[in-house]
């Protein structure tokens, strides 16, 4: 199977499940596919730094969570009618998905700029620990911040609106998520094949060489990190709309680990890899989860096999290795 064929298979599968859900009148299948698409999108963000840039961030829950809280807080204020702030400018909430997405993207990017500009001065284990520490800081902050539900989280009751569509309809919401996913993956595919993508790929492999041809590796990695944070934050906003609920658990290190598992299971540096990985993860969660409460043991075992024997993950297994940008 060529990489293109493998990607097509993932797309078709992602479309087939909600279609089957509609035909069989099993709407939970549609919701499941939507979840896969959103979690996969969070993985697409991480993949940019982990897969293409070689930066092992164990703190991507921070961006997922900030996107989630942007959606939750804006929708909460729109619903309650309280202004978000009255001074220096009066700012209210909103239930417009477009506005929420844009704010989530900007907040995710700014947070990534802040965290990245500090943590990217380190490498290896230190980088992993610093990204984790930042995410944990934000996690504990949300827990101890009573205004938006603290530990209990914040429900938003109805989905936000987009072009007058019935976003509460599972299939409609799935299609919204699917379109966003396709657009983001298209943009990422352009980025990884651009001049910048070449430099990012090179930085991962040999930073000294990149420096010696006049390219500052730090800048390249920071820009990738910011893009990555923005994408994962967008996924977080969608996730909150899916569940109509945001809570600190989105920010826990467990979430960071899951996003990383999607990328590794699916295949690092594969455009559709994180979606394949998220699909497998959610599938195992459903199937094994109904058989045993220790289903994560089996996921762990699978992860070990992938890391030891099939570094390319699902996408690499089905379409051969060495396909950066494929």
């Amino acid at each position: 199977m060529t990489p293109r064929l493998a990607s097509t298979a993932v797309v078709l599968l992602l479309l087939a499940v909600p279609l089957a859900g509609t035909i069989l009148n099993e709407p939970w299948l549609i919701t499941l596919a939507t979840r896969v698409a959103i979690l996969g999108l969070a993985g697409v963000g991480l993949n940019l730094v982990l897969g293409y840039g070689g930066m092992v961030s164990l703190g991507h829950a921070a961006y997922f969570g900030i996107g989630g809280y942007v959606a939750g807080i804006l929708a909460h204020h729109a619903l309650e009618g309280h202004p978000l702030m009255a001074w220096p400018v009066a700012l209210g909430g909103t239930d417009s998905m477009i506005v929420i997405w844009l704010v989530a993207i900007v907040c995710g990017a700014l947070l990534a700029l802040l965290i990245g500009s500090l943590s990217l001065r380190t490498t290896g284990v230190y980088f992993i620990m610093i990204t984790l520490a930042f995410a944990q800081m934000i996690y504990y902050f949300t827990i101890s911040w009573p205004a938006y539900g603290g530990e209990d989280g914040l429900p938003i009751y109805v989905r936000n609106s987009l072009f007058g569509l019935d976003t509460m309809d599972p299939m409609t919401f799935f299609m919204i998520v699917f379109v966003v996913l396709v657009i983001v993956i298209f943009l990422v595919s352009r980025v990884v094949q651009s001049n910048f993508g070449l430099a990012l790929n090179a930085v991962r492999q040999n930073e000294a060489r990149v420096r010696s041809v006049g390219i500052g590796g730090f800048r390249i990695r920071l820009v990738a990190f910011v893009m990555s944070g923005a994408i994962t934050a967008l996924a977080g906003a969608l996730f909150v709309d899916l569940n109509r609920f945001v809570s600190p658990s989105m920010l826990s290190w467990h979430t960071s680990g899951e996003i990383m598992i999607f990328v590794i299971l699916g295949g690092v540096a594969r455009l559709w890899g994180p979606i394949a990985g998220a699909a497998l993860y959610v599938f195992l969660e459903q199937v094994l989860g109904s058989m045993t409460e220790h289903w994560q043991f089996w996921v762990g075992l699978l992860l070990i096999v992938v890391v030891l024997h099939a570094r390319g993950g699902i996408m690499g297994f089905t379409s051969g290795r060495h396909s950066h940008g494929g």
Partner: protein, 256 residues
């Protein structure tokens, strides 16, 4: 030193470069200059501090003290990337390339750096005609153009050495810093590379760190000798060959 430099303009002027690692003085007040059109060889036994010197000049290693002037500018505070953009082209003792890239992509990356075009996010780099053309011209000059589609991990050691030079050429250098370009080459490969290096001085002056004495004496206009971090002599090849200190400290051991 001024007499030996003649009237040719000084491109690179290093004064009193000192760097210690713990108790070891890897470079002890090393001063050396490079004038237009010359190949200046830096020789010395293993561990003399030659690579340390190149790394400091290129900006990969910060000196404890000393100054580096390049084309009249003090570049001591500049990063390695900034120095490269000014036209400082270094090669590495152990080939340092992008292993998963093709030969062409490695050369394209260098042009990307020189042109400052790494922050373009949308157009596919593989279809950038101008960049490809520039890269292939450099590959042609070192005789690697026919191999431009090969992945670096698939080409021979000798070809990697040539690619290092092609990348240096891509930077449109004002100076070459070559760290043992001959390392690990067989006789045939060395002979070819000597011809190539000989032609480089017309592009820009060359600081050549090299162990191959035949190559050094065939190529160098001037030779500096580094022993235990100290420069013990600088001069024309004939003067160095007959210098008693040098013979005692270094040449005498390898060429009895």
């Amino acid at each position: 030193m001024a007499a030996e430099s003649g009237n040719a303009p000084v491109v690179l002027d290093v004064v009193g470069l000192t760097r210690s690692f713990g108790a070891v003085r890897a470079n002890d007040a090393v001063s050396l200059d490079l004038v237009t059109g010359e190949i200046h060889a830096l020789i010395g036994p293993n561990g003399a501090g030659k690579s340390t010197f190149i790394s400091q000049v290129a900006g990969d290693l910060a000196p404890d003290s000393g100054s580096i002037r390049f084309q009249g500018r003090d570049i001591g505070q500049m990063s390695a990337a900034q120095r490269a953009r000014l036209g400082m082209a270094r090669t590495f003792q152990i080939s340092s390339l992008i292993p998963e890239f093709t030969v062409l992509e490695n050369a394209m990356l260098a042009h990307l750096g020189r042109l400052g075009e790494s922050m373009r996010f949308f157009a596919p780099v593989a279809r950038d005609r101008k960049l490809r053309q520039l890269a292939r011209t450099c590959l042609e000059r070192v005789g690697l153009d026919s191999r431009h589609r090969e992945r670096v991990s698939e080409i021979s050691h000798g070809e990697r050495r040539l690619l290092e030079i092609a990348i240096a050429l891509a930077l449109e250098p004002a100076v070459f810093l070559l760290d043992e370009p001959m390392a690990g080459l067989d006789q045939e490969g060395s002979r070819m590379l000597i011809g190539l290096l000989d032609s480089l001085r017309q592009t820009a002056p060359v600081l050549l760190v090299e162990h191959d004495m035949d190559a050094v004496f065939a190529l160098a206009d001037r030779i500096s000798v580094l022993v235990d971090g100290r420069l013990i002599a600088t001069g024309q090849p004939d003067a160095i060959r007959s210098d008693d200190t040098v013979r005692a400290a270094y040449l005498g051991v390898e060429h009895p």
